[in-house]
Amino acid sequence: MDALRSAGPTYSKLVDISKCIGCKGCEVACKEWNDLGVEPTANFGSIQSHKDLSPKTWLLMRFNEVEIEGNLNWLITKDACLHCEEPGCLFACPAPGAIVQYTNGIVDFNQENCIGCQYCVTGCPFDIPKFDASTRKVSKCNMCVDRVESGLEPACVKTCPTNAISWGSKEDMLALADQKIETLKARGYDNAAVYNPAGVGGTHMMYVVPHGDHLEDYSLPADPTASPAPMTGLVFLKRLGAYLMSFSVVGALVHFLAFGPERLEE
Protein backbone atom coordinates (compact mmCIF):
# COMPACT_ATOMS: atom_id res chain seq x y z
CA MET A 1 0.00 0.00 0.00
CA ASP A 2 2.76 2.39 0.94
CA ALA A 3 4.60 1.53 -2.27
CA LEU A 4 1.48 2.29 -4.28
CA ARG A 5 0.94 5.53 -2.46
CA SER A 6 4.44 6.77 -3.07
CA ALA A 7 4.11 5.96 -6.81
CA GLY A 8 2.28 9.21 -7.57
CA PRO A 9 1.89 12.65 -6.05
CA THR A 10 -0.71 13.33 -3.42
CA TYR A 11 -2.49 16.53 -4.27
CA SER A 12 -3.50 19.36 -2.03
CA LYS A 13 -5.34 22.63 -2.25
CA LEU A 14 -3.91 25.53 -0.32
CA VAL A 15 -6.38 28.31 0.50
CA ASP A 16 -4.68 31.55 1.46
CA ILE A 17 -7.39 33.29 3.44
CA SER A 18 -5.39 36.54 3.49
CA LYS A 19 -5.74 36.78 -0.31
CA CYS A 20 -9.44 35.91 -0.46
CA ILE A 21 -11.73 38.81 -1.38
CA GLY A 22 -14.95 36.89 -0.68
CA CYS A 23 -16.23 37.06 -4.28
CA LYS A 24 -17.81 33.57 -4.08
CA GLY A 25 -16.53 32.79 -7.56
CA CYS A 26 -15.42 29.37 -6.28
CA GLU A 27 -18.95 28.68 -5.01
CA VAL A 28 -20.33 29.33 -8.47
CA ALA A 29 -17.59 27.38 -10.26
CA CYS A 30 -18.28 24.41 -7.99
CA LYS A 31 -21.99 24.54 -8.75
CA GLU A 32 -21.34 24.83 -12.49
CA TRP A 33 -18.75 22.12 -12.87
CA ASN A 34 -20.58 19.63 -10.67
CA ASP A 35 -23.99 20.61 -12.10
CA LEU A 36 -25.47 21.08 -8.63
CA GLY A 37 -28.15 23.61 -9.53
CA VAL A 38 -29.23 26.66 -7.61
CA GLU A 39 -30.86 26.76 -4.21
CA PRO A 40 -32.99 29.67 -3.00
CA THR A 41 -31.15 31.95 -0.60
CA ALA A 42 -32.62 33.82 2.36
CA ASN A 43 -31.14 36.88 4.05
CA PHE A 44 -30.13 36.02 7.58
CA GLY A 45 -28.06 39.10 8.23
CA SER A 46 -24.90 38.01 6.43
CA ILE A 47 -23.48 38.16 2.94
CA GLN A 48 -23.07 34.37 3.22
CA SER A 49 -25.15 32.53 0.59
CA HIS A 50 -26.54 29.78 2.83
CA LYS A 51 -26.35 28.93 6.50
CA ASP A 52 -24.74 25.57 5.84
CA LEU A 53 -23.54 23.17 3.19
CA SER A 54 -26.20 20.97 1.57
CA PRO A 55 -26.41 18.05 -0.85
CA LYS A 56 -26.45 20.68 -3.62
CA THR A 57 -23.91 23.05 -2.08
CA TRP A 58 -20.54 21.41 -1.66
CA LEU A 59 -18.63 24.65 -1.17
CA LEU A 60 -19.74 27.56 1.00
CA MET A 61 -17.93 30.80 1.72
CA ARG A 62 -18.41 31.53 5.41
CA PHE A 63 -18.24 35.12 6.60
CA ASN A 64 -17.72 35.72 10.32
CA GLU A 65 -17.48 39.16 11.92
CA VAL A 66 -15.13 38.93 14.89
CA GLU A 67 -13.37 41.49 17.06
CA ILE A 68 -9.64 40.74 17.40
CA GLU A 69 -7.39 43.06 19.45
CA GLY A 70 -9.98 45.83 19.34
CA ASN A 71 -10.41 45.72 15.56
CA LEU A 72 -13.36 44.32 13.66
CA ASN A 73 -12.20 41.49 11.43
CA TRP A 74 -14.14 39.98 8.58
CA LEU A 75 -13.00 36.37 8.60
CA ILE A 76 -13.71 34.41 5.44
CA THR A 77 -13.43 30.63 5.15
CA LYS A 78 -13.86 28.46 2.10
CA ASP A 79 -15.85 25.69 3.77
CA ALA A 80 -15.79 22.34 1.95
CA CYS A 81 -14.47 18.85 2.45
CA LEU A 82 -10.86 18.95 3.67
CA HIS A 83 -10.02 15.48 2.27
CA CYS A 84 -8.41 14.15 5.45
CA GLU A 85 -5.48 11.76 5.26
CA GLU A 86 -7.32 9.76 7.97
CA PRO A 87 -10.97 10.33 6.99
CA GLY A 88 -13.45 9.90 9.85
CA CYS A 89 -16.27 9.48 7.28
CA LEU A 90 -14.47 6.53 5.70
CA PHE A 91 -13.78 4.90 9.08
CA ALA A 92 -17.48 5.19 9.97
CA CYS A 93 -18.89 3.94 6.64
CA PRO A 94 -20.35 0.41 6.74
CA ALA A 95 -20.92 0.07 2.98
CA PRO A 96 -17.86 -1.19 1.10
CA GLY A 97 -16.96 1.10 -1.79
CA ALA A 98 -19.33 3.92 -0.81
CA ILE A 99 -16.49 6.09 0.48
CA VAL A 100 -13.09 5.66 -1.09
CA GLN A 101 -9.72 7.34 -0.70
CA TYR A 102 -7.65 7.49 -3.85
CA THR A 103 -3.89 7.23 -3.71
CA ASN A 104 -3.69 10.88 -4.71
CA GLY A 105 -5.36 11.80 -1.40
CA ILE A 106 -8.86 12.60 -2.67
CA VAL A 107 -11.72 11.21 -0.56
CA ASP A 108 -14.70 10.47 -2.79
CA PHE A 109 -18.28 9.30 -2.22
CA ASN A 110 -19.69 6.73 -4.66
CA GLN A 111 -23.42 7.25 -4.37
CA GLU A 112 -24.31 3.95 -6.05
CA ASN A 113 -22.79 2.09 -3.10
CA CYS A 114 -24.18 4.45 -0.43
CA ILE A 115 -26.90 2.89 1.73
CA GLY A 116 -28.03 6.19 3.27
CA CYS A 117 -27.22 5.34 6.89
CA GLN A 118 -25.45 8.68 7.41
CA TYR A 119 -22.80 7.17 9.68
CA CYS A 120 -20.26 9.27 7.75
CA VAL A 121 -22.01 12.34 9.16
CA THR A 122 -21.25 11.05 12.65
CA GLY A 123 -17.67 10.27 11.68
CA CYS A 124 -16.74 13.63 10.12
CA PRO A 125 -15.21 16.10 12.58
CA PHE A 126 -15.93 18.99 10.18
CA ASP A 127 -19.66 18.37 9.64
CA ILE A 128 -19.20 18.18 5.86
CA PRO A 129 -21.23 15.25 4.39
CA LYS A 130 -24.86 16.20 3.71
CA PHE A 131 -27.77 13.82 3.32
CA ASP A 132 -30.40 14.18 0.60
CA ALA A 133 -33.66 12.80 2.01
CA SER A 134 -35.18 12.38 -1.46
CA THR A 135 -32.39 10.24 -2.91
CA ARG A 136 -31.27 8.81 0.48
CA LYS A 137 -27.66 9.44 -0.50
CA VAL A 138 -24.92 11.52 1.08
CA SER A 139 -22.69 13.83 -0.92
CA LYS A 140 -19.85 16.32 -0.55
CA CYS A 141 -16.97 17.95 -2.45
CA ASN A 142 -15.10 15.35 -4.51
CA MET A 143 -12.18 17.70 -5.29
CA CYS A 144 -13.38 17.67 -8.92
CA VAL A 145 -11.85 14.21 -9.18
CA ASP A 146 -12.94 14.01 -12.83
CA ARG A 147 -10.90 17.15 -13.63
CA VAL A 148 -7.93 16.03 -11.55
CA GLU A 149 -7.70 12.67 -13.30
CA SER A 150 -7.51 14.58 -16.59
CA GLY A 151 -4.62 16.66 -15.30
CA LEU A 152 -6.69 19.75 -14.55
CA GLU A 153 -6.99 21.65 -11.27
CA PRO A 154 -10.34 21.67 -9.40
CA ALA A 155 -12.91 24.19 -10.66
CA CYS A 156 -12.61 26.45 -7.60
CA VAL A 157 -8.84 26.73 -8.09
CA LYS A 158 -9.28 27.52 -11.78
CA THR A 159 -11.78 30.30 -11.20
CA CYS A 160 -10.23 32.14 -8.23
CA PRO A 161 -9.43 35.69 -9.47
CA THR A 162 -6.83 36.47 -6.79
CA ASN A 163 -5.02 33.11 -6.85
CA ALA A 164 -5.99 32.65 -3.22
CA ILE A 165 -6.36 28.94 -3.95
CA SER A 166 -3.24 27.08 -5.02
CA TRP A 167 -3.05 23.52 -6.30
CA GLY A 168 -0.18 21.08 -6.40
CA SER A 169 1.54 18.27 -4.55
CA LYS A 170 1.13 18.20 -0.80
CA GLU A 171 4.88 18.87 -0.31
CA ASP A 172 4.85 21.87 -2.65
CA MET A 173 1.76 23.29 -0.98
CA LEU A 174 3.30 22.92 2.49
CA ALA A 175 6.43 24.72 1.25
CA LEU A 176 4.27 27.44 -0.31
CA ALA A 177 2.35 27.76 2.97
CA ASP A 178 5.63 28.36 4.82
CA GLN A 179 6.52 31.20 2.41
CA LYS A 180 3.07 32.74 2.78
CA ILE A 181 3.25 32.53 6.57
CA GLU A 182 6.64 34.22 6.54
CA THR A 183 5.23 37.06 4.44
CA LEU A 184 2.20 37.39 6.73
CA LYS A 185 4.40 37.48 9.82
CA ALA A 186 6.49 40.22 8.23
CA ARG A 187 3.22 42.13 7.75
CA GLY A 188 2.46 41.84 11.45
CA TYR A 189 0.28 38.73 11.57
CA ASP A 190 2.35 37.12 14.32
CA ASN A 191 0.03 34.15 14.71
CA ALA A 192 -0.29 33.28 11.03
CA ALA A 193 -0.37 29.50 10.63
CA VAL A 194 -1.14 26.69 8.26
CA TYR A 195 -4.25 24.63 9.00
CA ASN A 196 -3.31 21.00 8.37
CA PRO A 197 -4.68 19.34 11.53
CA ALA A 198 -2.65 16.38 12.82
CA GLY A 199 -5.70 14.79 14.47
CA VAL A 200 -6.91 13.65 11.04
CA GLY A 201 -3.42 12.89 9.72
CA GLY A 202 -3.28 16.18 7.85
CA THR A 203 -5.63 17.29 5.08
CA HIS A 204 -5.57 17.66 1.31
CA MET A 205 -7.19 21.05 1.55
CA MET A 206 -5.11 23.29 3.79
CA TYR A 207 -5.59 26.88 4.82
CA VAL A 208 -3.17 29.69 5.49
CA VAL A 209 -4.87 31.40 8.41
CA PRO A 210 -3.73 34.98 9.25
CA HIS A 211 -5.08 34.76 12.82
CA GLY A 212 -3.88 31.24 13.62
CA ASP A 213 -4.87 31.68 17.27
CA HIS A 214 -8.53 32.26 16.33
CA LEU A 215 -9.32 29.06 14.41
CA GLU A 216 -12.79 28.69 15.90
CA ASP A 217 -13.68 32.20 14.68
CA TYR A 218 -12.99 30.97 11.13
CA SER A 219 -15.44 28.08 11.80
CA LEU A 220 -12.43 25.73 11.87
CA PRO A 221 -12.28 23.22 14.74
CA ALA A 222 -9.07 23.83 16.70
CA ASP A 223 -8.30 20.17 17.34
CA PRO A 224 -10.36 17.90 15.07
CA THR A 225 -9.87 14.16 15.33
CA ALA A 226 -11.03 11.32 13.10
CA SER A 227 -11.92 9.29 16.17
CA PRO A 228 -13.83 11.29 18.82
CA ALA A 229 -14.31 9.52 22.17
CA PRO A 230 -17.54 7.63 21.35
CA MET A 231 -16.11 6.40 18.05
CA THR A 232 -12.94 5.11 19.73
CA GLY A 233 -15.21 3.37 22.24
CA LEU A 234 -17.21 1.90 19.37
CA VAL A 235 -14.11 0.48 17.70
CA PHE A 236 -13.13 -1.17 21.00
CA LEU A 237 -16.68 -2.44 21.63
CA LYS A 238 -16.94 -3.93 18.14
CA ARG A 239 -13.75 -5.87 18.67
CA LEU A 240 -14.93 -7.02 22.10
CA GLY A 241 -18.35 -7.86 20.65
CA ALA A 242 -16.85 -9.96 17.88
CA TYR A 243 -14.95 -12.00 20.47
CA LEU A 244 -17.83 -12.29 22.95
CA MET A 245 -20.40 -13.30 20.34
CA SER A 246 -18.04 -15.81 18.74
CA PHE A 247 -17.04 -17.21 22.14
CA SER A 248 -20.69 -17.58 23.16
CA VAL A 249 -21.24 -19.82 20.13
CA VAL A 250 -18.04 -21.75 20.87
CA GLY A 251 -19.00 -21.90 24.56
CA ALA A 252 -22.39 -23.40 23.71
CA LEU A 253 -20.71 -25.98 21.47
CA VAL A 254 -18.17 -26.91 24.16
CA HIS A 255 -20.95 -27.18 26.76
CA PHE A 256 -22.87 -29.44 24.41
CA LEU A 257 -19.79 -31.63 23.85
CA ALA A 258 -19.22 -31.82 27.60
CA PHE A 259 -22.79 -32.52 28.68
CA GLY A 260 -24.75 -33.37 25.55
CA PRO A 261 -28.51 -33.19 25.37
CA GLU A 262 -30.09 -33.66 28.77
CA ARG A 263 -31.83 -37.05 29.01
CA LEU A 264 -34.67 -37.29 31.45
CA GLU A 265 -34.52 -40.32 33.75
CA GLU A 266 -37.13 -43.03 33.25
Binding site: I115, G116, D127, G233, L237, K238, L244, M245, H255
Partner: protein, 214 residues
Protein backbone atom coordinates in the same frame (compact mmCIF):
# COMPACT_ATOMS: atom_id res chain seq x y z
CA UNK B 1 -49.56 -34.88 47.76
CA UNK B 2 -47.31 -37.54 46.34
CA UNK B 3 -49.99 -38.40 43.83
CA UNK B 4 -50.24 -34.80 42.69
CA UNK B 5 -46.52 -34.46 42.01
CA UNK B 6 -46.06 -37.86 40.41
CA UNK B 7 -45.64 -38.39 36.72
CA UNK B 8 -48.71 -38.95 34.62
CA UNK B 9 -47.68 -41.15 31.73
CA UNK B 10 -48.30 -39.89 28.19
CA UNK B 11 -49.84 -36.69 29.47
CA UNK B 12 -48.84 -33.47 27.70
CA UNK B 13 -49.25 -30.00 29.15
CA UNK B 14 -49.94 -26.72 27.38
CA UNK B 15 -47.01 -24.42 28.19
CA UNK B 16 -47.55 -21.56 25.76
CA UNK B 17 -50.84 -20.47 24.18
CA UNK B 18 -51.16 -19.77 20.46
CA UNK B 19 -51.06 -16.04 21.21
CA UNK B 20 -47.84 -16.37 23.22
CA UNK B 21 -46.19 -18.43 20.49
CA UNK B 22 -47.11 -15.94 17.75
CA UNK B 23 -45.74 -13.05 19.79
CA UNK B 24 -42.57 -14.99 20.58
CA UNK B 25 -41.91 -15.66 16.91
CA UNK B 26 -42.66 -12.10 15.84
CA UNK B 27 -40.13 -10.82 18.35
CA UNK B 28 -37.68 -13.64 17.60
CA UNK B 29 -37.95 -13.35 13.84
CA UNK B 30 -37.61 -9.59 13.94
CA UNK B 31 -34.63 -9.86 16.27
CA UNK B 32 -32.77 -12.27 14.00
CA UNK B 33 -33.44 -10.03 10.98
CA UNK B 34 -32.27 -7.03 13.02
CA UNK B 35 -29.15 -8.83 14.16
CA UNK B 36 -28.25 -9.90 10.62
CA UNK B 37 -28.71 -6.45 9.08
CA UNK B 38 -27.22 -4.74 12.14
CA UNK B 39 -24.09 -6.89 12.19
CA UNK B 40 -23.76 -6.28 8.45
CA UNK B 41 -23.67 -2.53 9.18
CA UNK B 42 -21.26 -3.00 12.08
CA UNK B 43 -18.74 -5.28 10.35
CA UNK B 44 -17.70 -4.69 6.70
CA UNK B 45 -16.77 -8.40 6.50
CA UNK B 46 -20.41 -9.26 7.20
CA UNK B 47 -21.81 -6.68 4.77
CA UNK B 48 -22.63 -9.47 2.30
CA UNK B 49 -25.57 -10.44 4.54
CA UNK B 50 -27.44 -7.36 3.30
CA UNK B 51 -27.89 -9.19 -0.01
CA UNK B 52 -30.43 -11.41 1.79
CA UNK B 53 -32.51 -8.29 2.35
CA UNK B 54 -32.22 -6.80 -1.13
CA UNK B 55 -28.86 -5.03 -0.81
CA UNK B 56 -27.37 -2.43 1.49
CA UNK B 57 -29.75 0.44 0.78
CA UNK B 58 -32.80 -1.82 1.18
CA UNK B 59 -31.39 -3.30 4.38
CA UNK B 60 -30.92 0.20 5.76
CA UNK B 61 -34.56 1.02 4.97
CA UNK B 62 -35.87 -2.29 6.36
CA UNK B 63 -33.81 -2.44 9.56
CA UNK B 64 -35.82 0.26 11.42
CA UNK B 65 -39.10 -1.36 10.33
CA UNK B 66 -37.94 -4.70 11.71
CA UNK B 67 -37.25 -2.63 14.81
CA UNK B 68 -40.85 -1.41 14.87
CA UNK B 69 -42.10 -5.02 14.72
CA UNK B 70 -39.63 -5.98 17.43
CA UNK B 71 -40.65 -3.02 19.60
CA UNK B 72 -44.39 -3.63 19.34
CA UNK B 73 -43.86 -7.36 19.92
CA UNK B 74 -41.73 -6.67 22.98
CA UNK B 75 -44.36 -4.38 24.49
CA UNK B 76 -47.07 -7.03 24.03
CA UNK B 77 -44.74 -9.71 25.36
CA UNK B 78 -43.81 -7.72 28.45
CA UNK B 79 -47.48 -6.99 29.20
CA UNK B 80 -48.38 -10.66 28.71
CA UNK B 81 -45.58 -12.18 30.79
CA UNK B 82 -44.44 -9.59 33.34
CA UNK B 83 -46.74 -11.01 36.08
CA UNK B 84 -44.83 -14.29 36.07
CA UNK B 85 -41.38 -12.74 35.88
CA UNK B 86 -40.76 -11.22 39.32
CA UNK B 87 -38.11 -13.13 41.26
CA UNK B 88 -39.19 -14.78 44.52
CA UNK B 89 -37.19 -16.47 47.29
CA UNK B 90 -37.17 -19.78 45.42
CA UNK B 91 -35.66 -18.00 42.40
CA UNK B 92 -32.91 -16.49 44.53
CA UNK B 93 -32.02 -19.97 45.76
CA UNK B 94 -32.08 -21.18 42.16
CA UNK B 95 -29.70 -18.38 41.11
CA UNK B 96 -27.34 -19.26 43.94
CA UNK B 97 -27.26 -22.81 42.55
CA UNK B 98 -26.94 -21.78 38.88
CA UNK B 99 -23.55 -23.51 38.73
CA UNK B 100 -25.20 -26.87 39.43
CA UNK B 101 -27.81 -26.12 36.77
CA UNK B 102 -25.09 -25.49 34.19
CA UNK B 103 -23.26 -28.68 35.26
CA UNK B 104 -26.47 -30.76 34.95
CA UNK B 105 -26.27 -31.57 38.65
CA UNK B 106 -30.06 -31.51 38.78
CA UNK B 107 -30.49 -32.83 42.30
CA UNK B 108 -28.83 -29.73 43.73
CA UNK B 109 -30.98 -27.26 41.76
CA UNK B 110 -33.93 -25.86 43.75
CA UNK B 111 -37.29 -26.55 42.06
CA UNK B 112 -38.39 -23.88 39.58
CA UNK B 113 -41.90 -22.55 38.95
CA UNK B 114 -43.33 -21.88 35.48
CA UNK B 115 -40.12 -19.99 34.71
CA UNK B 116 -36.78 -20.56 36.38
CA UNK B 117 -34.71 -17.62 37.57
CA UNK B 118 -32.50 -17.76 34.48
CA UNK B 119 -35.50 -17.39 32.21
CA UNK B 120 -36.79 -14.52 34.33
CA UNK B 121 -33.41 -12.78 34.16
CA UNK B 122 -33.39 -13.30 30.39
CA UNK B 123 -36.79 -11.60 30.23
CA UNK B 124 -35.58 -8.56 32.19
CA UNK B 125 -32.29 -8.27 30.30
CA UNK B 126 -34.17 -8.44 27.02
CA UNK B 127 -36.66 -5.80 28.18
CA UNK B 128 -33.87 -3.42 29.24
CA UNK B 129 -31.96 -4.02 26.00
CA UNK B 130 -35.14 -3.38 24.02
CA UNK B 131 -35.46 0.05 25.62
CA UNK B 132 -31.83 0.88 24.72
CA UNK B 133 -32.34 -0.48 21.17
CA UNK B 134 -35.56 1.43 20.59
CA UNK B 135 -34.47 4.79 22.05
CA UNK B 136 -31.05 4.89 20.35
CA UNK B 137 -32.60 3.39 17.21
CA UNK B 138 -35.03 6.29 16.91
CA UNK B 139 -32.08 8.69 16.76
CA UNK B 140 -30.26 6.57 14.18
CA UNK B 141 -33.41 6.20 12.08
CA UNK B 142 -33.63 9.97 11.60
CA UNK B 143 -30.02 11.16 11.97
CA UNK B 144 -30.65 14.33 9.97
CA UNK B 145 -32.42 15.86 12.99
CA UNK B 146 -29.65 15.32 15.55
CA UNK B 147 -26.10 16.51 16.07
CA UNK B 148 -23.16 14.30 15.13
CA UNK B 149 -22.08 14.17 18.78
CA UNK B 150 -25.47 12.84 19.95
CA UNK B 151 -25.48 10.30 17.12
CA UNK B 152 -22.01 9.05 18.07
CA UNK B 153 -23.24 8.21 21.57
CA UNK B 154 -26.38 6.61 20.14
CA UNK B 155 -24.28 4.40 17.85
CA UNK B 156 -22.24 3.36 20.89
CA UNK B 157 -25.38 2.54 22.93
CA UNK B 158 -27.02 0.75 20.01
CA UNK B 159 -23.95 -1.40 19.52
CA UNK B 160 -23.59 -2.10 23.27
CA UNK B 161 -27.16 -3.43 23.25
CA UNK B 162 -26.33 -5.53 20.16
CA UNK B 163 -23.41 -7.11 21.98
CA UNK B 164 -25.67 -8.06 24.93
CA UNK B 165 -28.53 -9.16 22.71
CA UNK B 166 -26.31 -11.26 20.45
CA UNK B 167 -24.82 -13.21 23.38
CA UNK B 168 -28.25 -13.63 25.00
CA UNK B 169 -29.67 -14.97 21.75
CA UNK B 170 -26.99 -17.64 21.48
CA UNK B 171 -27.58 -18.76 25.08
CA UNK B 172 -31.37 -18.67 24.62
CA UNK B 173 -31.34 -20.71 21.42
CA UNK B 174 -28.83 -23.23 22.77
CA UNK B 175 -30.72 -23.86 26.01
CA UNK B 176 -34.09 -23.86 24.24
CA UNK B 177 -33.13 -26.40 21.58
CA UNK B 178 -30.28 -28.92 21.63
CA UNK B 179 -29.29 -28.62 25.31
CA UNK B 180 -32.75 -29.56 26.60
CA UNK B 181 -34.67 -31.75 24.17
CA UNK B 182 -38.40 -31.27 24.41
CA UNK B 183 -38.13 -27.57 25.20
CA UNK B 184 -38.44 -26.18 21.68
CA UNK B 185 -41.78 -27.94 21.19
CA UNK B 186 -43.26 -25.51 23.74
CA UNK B 187 -42.80 -22.78 21.12
CA UNK B 188 -44.07 -24.91 18.21
CA UNK B 189 -47.35 -26.55 19.21
CA UNK B 190 -47.17 -25.18 22.73
CA UNK B 191 -46.96 -28.55 24.47
CA UNK B 192 -44.42 -30.19 26.78
CA UNK B 193 -44.42 -33.71 28.16
CA UNK B 194 -45.38 -34.38 31.72
CA UNK B 195 -41.89 -35.69 32.41
CA UNK B 196 -40.29 -32.57 30.98
CA UNK B 197 -42.46 -30.33 33.14
CA UNK B 198 -41.80 -32.34 36.30
CA UNK B 199 -38.08 -32.27 35.64
CA UNK B 200 -37.56 -28.66 34.62
CA UNK B 201 -40.38 -26.82 36.36
CA UNK B 202 -41.49 -28.99 39.35
CA UNK B 203 -43.44 -26.23 41.09
CA UNK B 204 -45.37 -25.41 37.89
CA UNK B 205 -45.96 -29.14 37.26
CA UNK B 206 -47.31 -29.58 40.77
CA UNK B 207 -49.58 -26.58 40.38
CA UNK B 208 -50.96 -27.80 37.06
CA UNK B 209 -51.43 -31.37 38.29
CA UNK B 210 -53.24 -30.23 41.39
CA UNK B 211 -55.55 -27.89 39.48
CA UNK B 212 -56.41 -30.70 37.06
CA UNK B 213 -57.20 -33.10 39.88
CA UNK B 214 -59.45 -30.62 41.65
Amino acid sequence: MTVATGEVRNRILLRFTFFERIIHWIVGGAFVALLMTGLAFAYPTLFWMTILFGGGAAARVLHPWFGVAFGIGMVVMVVAWIRDMFLDDGDRQWLAAVKHYAMRDTDRVPPAGKYNAGQKMFFWFQAILAIVFLVSGMFLWFPEYFSAEVLRWMRLSHYLATLGGGVLLVVHVYLGTVAYPGTARAMVDGMVTDRWARHHHPRWHEERTRSELL
